[in-house]
């Protein structure tokens, strides 16, 4: 499994589209908006945006580990080739999960560095560490979401579906604009999404507030629900 993990990580780091989306895009947004003044959710704009962009980068990293790449590789036959090799389905998914988590690191490190250096953010090492742990565990439902996208869509549509879903999650979940400034109807939708609750956990950690069990429960429920869909689709395909 470690051989497979290393292989997949090297391959992802060559994927320019992945790097732009996961690192380039949040860094650019940060450079544009971090210098705005104001306080929100008990954080300066520079700190809030640093955390938001880290959440976006983490969500993307997790979804890119599976997502459109899986859809393309199901279509090209590479997944069939892997299935006749000794790697097991749980081993494969385990590697994908770890890949998604490890690839959070470059974006996260860059955003923390920018936040501290460029945005003059002051967060204790403990708070940064808590945010990192939240991102590692909190991106699991997004990794499973990528798996579902990769199993449901074909190679052509999965890319578009993934972009759309990511922007919707970020927008309605309050990652791009403040959730409280969204229309009421959108807030209701956003409140049900895993992105909102991952954001809540990360912002609360940054501001030194208590983490809510409710946010964690919603993320766990999403992971479990999507997991069931993924297992059902996977079985459907493997015994066809």
């Amino acid at each position: 499994m470690t051989a497979f993990l290393r292989f997949e990580i090297i391959r992802s780091l060559r994927n320019v589209r992945f790097l732009i989306f996961i690192i380039g895009f949040p860094v650019l947004l940060y450079l544009i908006y971090a210098k705005q003044h104001g306080i929100s959710q008990g954080l300066t704009v520079a700190a809030l945006l640093m955390v938001s962009m880290a959440v976006w980068s983490g969500m993307g990293s997790a979804m890119f580990a599976t997502g459109p790449q899986l859809a393309r590789e199901r279509q090209s036959g590479w997944m069939r080739q892997l299935r006749v090799s000794p790697i097991s389905a749980p081993g494969w998914f385990g590697a994908k999960l770890i890949q998604g988590i490890l690839l959070i690191i470059p974006g996260f490190a860059l955003l923390i560095a920018l936040g501290f250096g460029y945005g003059h953010v002051h967060l204790s090492a403990g708070r940064v560490g808590t945010i990192a742990v939240i991102l590692v565990l909190g991106t699991i439902p997004f990794c499973v979401l990528g798996l579902v996208i990769g199993l449901v869509f074909d190679g052509q549509t999965a890319q578009v579906a993934q972009m759309l879903i990511m922007f919707l999650l970020a927008f309605l979940g309050g990652i791009f604009i403040q959730w409280s400034s969204l229309p009421r109807a959108m807030q209701y939708i956003g409140d049900a999404l895993p992105s909102y609750h991952l954001g809540q956990l990360a912002w609360n950690a940054a501001a030194g507030r208590a983490l809510r069990i409710g946010d964690m429960a919603v993320l766990a429920a999403w992971a479990a629900g999507l997991g069931l869909i993924a297992v059902w689709r996977w079985r459907q395909e493997s015994v066809a």
Binding site: F7, R11, R14, S76, Q81, R83, P86
Partner: protein, 316 residues
């Protein structure tokens, strides 16, 4: 690393009354039974859609049979796959973008715990010079050989090749079959699917002819080729004499039913003039194929190099 005694548990492949139904009207495999023994090199020969790929998919555990039993190296296909005892080169086995050929082969030799170096495996597949090439930059033939290198990882006891030469030119095809012969000489059982009789003839020790989901013939290449030449002559003649008819050149057997006669011949061009030379009154003469016509005459009519025929091949 585990070592397995090849063929210790009976046949390498055992098909028992295997049925695969995709759709109530489509029987991809229709009560198929056969054994493949360790060390054999067997061709599954049949036209597109005959059931070759379905048969290989069930042997690799990629599809579950609707009925019957498939056993691989004495156990379930999934067990043989998980133990890394089989290698497969599938008909649609695209390579993952962003990877270099060397990385890919290195991954597979690690997955299969192969102690040979990446360079060795690349050389075996004839692509030692492509280690640093990205898979997106490979030609069709190079892709095919990279996939062959993956199939060789782990010294498989059983190697499945589904239409392995589809993207290769004549020279590359020859080199490819030479590598397969080397591997089979080291004891690997090889099963390959093809729709070219001459490819099966040149490279297999045994041919299974598949059509409409059934095994329609099973024999050595020489036996199978003799079937393809077989023709059936049907006619009526007053009081036929079987002994006389059996003496005609090329005749294999004669069936007489009143005035109606059926003669099977391996060389209709010799038999027919000799038959008329007997001076008998022959009526309602019909010349037909030898029973394998649908599956085999179609295969032998092409010359095997027809590129258009190859590109229209699809999973079947």
């Amino acid at each position: 690393m585990t070592f397995h005694k090849p063929g210790a548990a009976g046949p390498a492949v055992a098909f028992r009354d295997v049925v695969k139904v995709y759709h109530p009207d489509i029987r991809a495999l229709d009560h198929v039974s056969f054994d493949i023994h360790a060390g054999e090199t067997v061709a599954l020969l049949g036209p597109n859609g005959a059931g070759k790929s379905t048969a290989i998919d069930t042997m690799l555990g990629l599809r579950a049979p609707t009925g019957g039993e498939v056993r691989i190296l004495g156990g379930a296909p999934a067990a043989a796959v998980a133990a890394g005892r089989i290698g497969g080169m599938l008909q649609t086995g695209g390579l993952p973008e962003g990877a270099k050929v060397g990385e890919l082969v290195d991954l597979f030799r690690r997955l299969y715990h192969d102690d040979r170096s990446t360079g060795e495996l690349l050389a075996l597949a004839g692509i030692a010079d492509l280690a640093d090439r990205r898979v997106e930059q490979l030609s069709g033939g190079q892709t095919q050989r990279a996939r062959f290198a993956l199939a060789l990882a782990g010294h498989p006891e059983l190697l499945f090749l589904d239409e392995p030469t589809a993207a290769l030119d004549v020279g590359a095809r020859r080199k490819f079959w030479r590598s397969v012969a080397t591997i089979s000489a080291h004891g690997t059982t090889v099963l390959f699917a093809t729709h070219y009789l001459e490819e099966a003839d040149a490279n297999a020790s045994r041919i299974l002819v598949v059509n409409h989901g059934r095994i329609v013939a099973d024999g050595t290449p020489a036996q199978i080729k003799s079937y393809t030449a077989t023709r059936t002559l049907q006619f009526t003649t007053p009081s036929p004499d079987p002994a006389e008819l059996l003496r005609l050149p090329g005749v294999n057997d004669v069936l007489v039913d009143g005035d109606a006669v059926t003669v099977r011949t391996g060389d209709a061009d010799e038999t027919l003039p000799a038959l008329y030379a007997l001076g008998r009154r022959l009526r309602a003469m019909e010349v037909g194929g030898g029973g394998l016509e649908e599956s085999l005459i179609a295969l032998t009519s092409g010359d095997g190099a027809g590129a258009d025929q190859r590109t229209t091949e699809r999973v079947g």
